[in-house]
């Protein structure tokens, strides 16, 4: 076992890892269960986390690559009482069904909107193309995200 240190949801922590371990396993074994184990091959996006402002698939990211980085999971964004605006929009739009893909979808949207607060539709789809949802058919998810974008535009 080796020790790595990274910031998780704004808090600096040490993690004991096996060199062969993937980040999704390290996070889930340390209580960050919002990081979902989906396809395990970097396709579905359920395991998406943000590292240094960029989304990655944690199921194909070796944990040692997170050493000294800034990692965000869904646990770091909002609560039941005070949801993040992206979470609020998804709920209001009825865009959540089984919910398994939603942590990844929220994080992908957050990473994009932190970088480009008013993306056009093509950019929005480009940045969300790595997250699969097998329940909703995406329409309500995009509507919810477009509403967040519209709100951002009003605030400018």
């Amino acid at each position: 076992m080796k020790t790595i240190t990274f910031s998780i949801n704004g808090e600096q922590k040490q993690f004991s890892i096996n060199p062969d371990e993937m980040l999704v396993d390290v996070l889930r074994n340390n209580g960050y269960k919002g990081v979902k184990w989906g396809c395990g091959e970097g396709s579905c996006g359920a395991c998406t986390v943000i590292i240094d402002g960029q989304t990655v698939y944690s199921c194909i990211t070796y944990a040692f690559l997170a050493d000294e980085k800034d990692v965000w999971t869904i646990e770091g964004l909002g609560t039941l009482d005070a949801p993040h605006p992206i979470q609020e929009a998804l709920v209001n739009e009825g865009a959540v069904q089984c919910g398994f893909c939603i942590p990844g979808i929220v994080l992908s949207a957050k990473a994009l909107l932190d970088k480009i607060s008013i993306p056009d539709d093509d950019t929005l789809k480009e940045y969300m193309d790595g997250n699969l949802c097998r329940c909703t058919g995406y329409e309500k998810i995009y509507t919810a995200l477009q509403k967040v974008v519209s709100k951002n535009a009003e605030e400018v």
């Binding site: 970097g42 960029q54 989304t55 990655v56 194909i60 040692f64």
Partner: protein, 282 residues
Amino acid sequence: MKIIDFTKPASIEETCSLLNQLDSKAVITAGGTSFQFKTGNAVKTAVDINALNLAGIEVREDSFCIGALTKIAELQNFTNNGWVLGKVAKKLSTQQIRNMCTLGGCVAQVFPWSDFPVVLLALDAEINTVNSKKSKAYRAHDFFKQQPAKILNSKTLVTDICISKVLDSSGFGYHKEVRTSGGFSTLTVAAYIKIDNNKIADIKLAAGGALGLPIRLTAIENELKGQRASSSLFNDIVPPHAQKIKWQAKEGASDEYIAHLAKTIIIDVLNEALKESASEAK
């Protein structure tokens, strides 16, 4: 492959020394996305090169020099006069993969679905490498003649990749045929054309995906060079040559289907490059 240890050198010198010391037990790691395709039970120490100063795009007078650690997402978002890799980057897999993958990783190992080797062949890129003994530059057509691992072995690093700007009377065309959005390439074609007095002064055409390794389509290039550029010329020249290439069947696509697809896509890509060569905006 099993990773039993990892190390993160701070300089190229330290990296080369570690690679020498670990020899075949080393595996160079940057984005790490290709690891999921490494089968077998080899036991390796990961040499994480992310601390090396090899990321970023340097804009030179007539060219761009791209550090090997530059992420595909950076290529996707970069804009500059004569920059054509944005449209290639956008088509590579999904945003998460574009955030993880490095250009160096895309050239250090060629998979049957690799996009960038095809493009770098068409752009006649220069691939710069270093090991403990020397630095060496390769033209793309030499580098991709074999699996690059044969050149790089486990002791040589790709440091940067340089491409010319696509300016003035030149154009670039690109098409990646996929079965699903974000999927692996069934067929990838890229073309660079330079027009002088309405004639094709220079042309580089490359294809990959349905081939073992990406190749330059030199027979088509040779026939087109010096001719007056037009769609009808492409329609005449491409089909007989495209038919002769040994395309490989892929999942969901027979070799016969790919041969037909290739003919159409090559013509489309040449037309796109020709159209772009006449346009001010690249």
